[in-house]
Symmetry: C3
Amino acid sequence: MTENSRKQTCDDIADSLQKIRSDHPLIHNITNYVVMNFTANALLALGASPVMAHAPEEVEEMTGLASALVINIGTLSSPWVASMRKALEAARKRQIPIVLDPVGAGATKFRTDTALSFLERATVTVLRGNASEILALAGESGKTKGVDSARTTSEARLSAAKLAARYGITVAVTGAVDFITDGAREAEIANGHPLMGRITGTGCSASAITGAFCAAAPDAFRAAAGALVVFGIAGEIAGQSAPGPGTFQPLLLDALYTLGEEAIRNRTRLRLS
Amino acid sequence: MTENSRKQTCDDIADSLQKIRSDHPLIHNITNYVVMNFTANALLALGASPVMAHAPEEVEEMTGLASALVINIGTLSSPWVASMRKALEAARKRQIPIVLDPVGAGATKFRTDTALSFLERATVTVLRGNASEILALAGESGKTKGVDSARTTSEARLSAAKLAARYGITVAVTGAVDFITDGAREAEIANGHPLMGRITGTGCSASAITGAFCAAAPDAFRAAAGALVVFGIAGEIAGQSAPGPGTFQPLLLDALYTLGEEAIRNRTRLRLS
Amino acid sequence: MTENSRKQTCDDIADSLQKIRSDHPLIHNITNYVVMNFTANALLALGASPVMAHAPEEVEEMTGLASALVINIGTLSSPWVASMRKALEAARKRQIPIVLDPVGAGATKFRTDTALSFLERATVTVLRGNASEILALAGESGKTKGVDSARTTSEARLSAAKLAARYGITVAVTGAVDFITDGAREAEIANGHPLMGRITGTGCSASAITGAFCAAAPDAFRAAAGALVVFGIAGEIAGQSAPGPGTFQPLLLDALYTLGEEAIRNRTRLRLS
C-alpha cells in the first residue's frame, strides 16, 4: 500500500466511525444469551444504538426500523432460528446489510446446517467467523472446539474465498491476523491483542460492530475491514493497561468510546491486495 | 422546597436505603436477557436480594416469596408474557408493589400492546420508562428508536400525567432530567450522568431499584423518587472517575454499594411540586 | 494436616490448574441466563474453554465434545429441563464428570423436584450448592430466600453427608466457609471474600470451575476442593483492591488468570479430615 492509499484508507475508517457516532444507527441483533450484554455495550460504546428482539410477533417490525441486522447462532434453538429467518427475509426486502456470525459451526450439525441455510436463502452481506467455522462452512474439517477455533486464519483463506465466490458475499475470518475477502479483494489486519481471546464475546462483538460499519459505509468489504481495524485497535489500547481479561473487558469498551482519528492513523495495520 | 423539607426528603431517602441494606428484600425480576446480569448486580450492590424466574411452573411461587415484582419487556416473547401475567396476578393478590418497565413500547405493536395490557389488567404500582415509551403508551407518537428515546422527558410530562390518572399509578419518566408524577404530585430529579445512556441496562436497573425502594417505603411516589435520586447520585460518583462507559459500569455498582447519607444530603437534586 | 501433606495438597491443586491452562478442556454449560457471561469469562480466565448449548437438536453432540458437563437450574423452564436430561444422559454414557448446581432448590417445588430428579437418574459427580439448597435437597427446611442462602454451611453438614451417601457423590456446600464431603472424606475451606456474596454468579462460577477441575483431576473430592480453593484465593486477591462489588468482578477474573503456585502455597486454607 502506498503512503497515500494508506492515508486514504485510514481517513475512510475514521469517517465511518464519525458517521456511526453522529447517526447512532439502530442495529438489530438476534444473538446469543452469553454475549447480549457485552454486544449491546460494545455497540453503545462505539456510538451505535443496539436493539435485541427475537419474538416472531415483532422481529420483522424491528428489522424494519434498523439500519443493519446481525444474526448470531451462539445459543440457537428452533424457535429462534424461525425468528432469524423472518428477520433475514425482512432485511433482504429492505436491502439493509446483514451480518451472519456462525458461532460453533462445525461443532454440531445443527449449527453448520443452520448457518448454511441462512447463507443459501438470504442475501448475507458479511459472514464473520473464526477459522474453524469458516472451514466447516466450506465443507472442510474445521475441528471447531465448541465455539473456539482450532485453526489459524491463514488455514481458512481458501475456504473464505470459496464461500465469498459461492454466495457473492464478503467473508471475514478473525484470529491473530484477520483475513477478509469479497472474492475480488483481500485484506489482512494485524491489529488486536491476545486477551481478546480470553474474554467471551469478542468475535460476536466484532460481528455487531461490522453491522454498524456496514450501516455507515456502502462497500461491505471496506466496512468489514474498518470494523476489524477499529475493534483491533481498541483491543490494543485496552491491552496496554489491563493485567488480565477481567479489567480488559471494560477497558476495551472505554477504548471503543474514546479512540479517534489519531489512533487510527498511527495504529492501523491493514494490508490490502 | 424549604431547607427543612429538603432535609426531610434526604433523610427519608437515606432511611429507605438503610432499610434495603438491612432487610435485603427479595425482588422478583422477570426481565430481558440483555440486562439480567447487570440488574442482579445493581440490586445486590444496593443491598437487595434479586431473583430471576420465569417458568410458568414456578413464577407464582417465587412471587409469593418476594417483596416486590419487577416486569421488564425488553426481550419479550409469548411464553414469557404468559408467565409475566401469572406473576402479576400473584403480586396483585399479595398486594406487593409492582414495577413495569415497558422497554421498546412504541417501537413495535407487540411491545406497546403487551405493556398496555399489563397496565389494564394488573395493579401496577410504578411505570418507569423513557420519554418515547411513555408517549407511546399514552397514545402519542413516541418515535421510539429501538429501545432508545427520541424525546426528552419534558415532552412526556402530559403523557405521564395522563397515564398516572388513567391507571391510578405513579409514572416515572427517566432521561437527562427525570420526571415523576402520581397524578397529584410531581417531582423533577436532575441527578445522573451522561454515561448512563452509554451502557445498556441503566433504565432497566432504575426500574429494579425502584422495586427495592417500593419494598422499603409504602409511598410509591416517594419510593420512585428515592430510587432515581440514589441511582442518579451513583452515576455521578462513577462518572467522576470513569474515562468511558466500560469502566463506568463497575464504578456505578461500587457507588451503589458505598454511597451513604452524606452523598444523599450533598448531592440530591430533587424538585417537588 | 502435616506440613508435608499440606505441601502435597497445594502441589496437587497447582498441578490441576496448570493442566487446565495447558489443555483448555471444553466445559459444556447448560446454565442460567443471569450468569452465562460471567461463567464463560470465569472459565476462560482460568484457562478452560466454555461452551453454552441448550437446543435438543445439539446438546448430545456438544456434550460428546466436552470434558465435563455443568448443569445449573438458575432460570430453568420445561424445555431446558428436557435438554438438560439429554445432556446428562450423554455425559453419563461417555463417563465425563457432571457438576450439578441446584440454584434456588427449596425456593420453589419446581426447582427442588428438578434437582432431585437429576440426582436420581444421572450419575452426578459433584453437587455444589449453598447451605439452603443442600438442606432443601436433603429434605430439611432450607428456607431458601430466592437464590440466596438463609443458612450457614455448618448447618448443612449433615445434609451434605446424607446426600453424598444416598447418591454416591461429592457434595460441596459453599459459603463463608466451604464444606465438602464424599461420604468418606471431609474438607473445610476458609478461602474467599465477603464481596463474593455481593455479585451474582459466584456460586454458579464455582460450579463451572469445579467442572474444569474435574476434567483435570480424576478424584472428584479433590477436584472440588481444588476448585474452591483457587476460586476463593482469586476472591481474596480481588478483594484486596476492590472498593466495591462492581470493580471486584473484573478483578476476580484477573486473579483467576494470573494466580499461580505461590499464591496457592501461601494462601490455601484447607482442612481435610
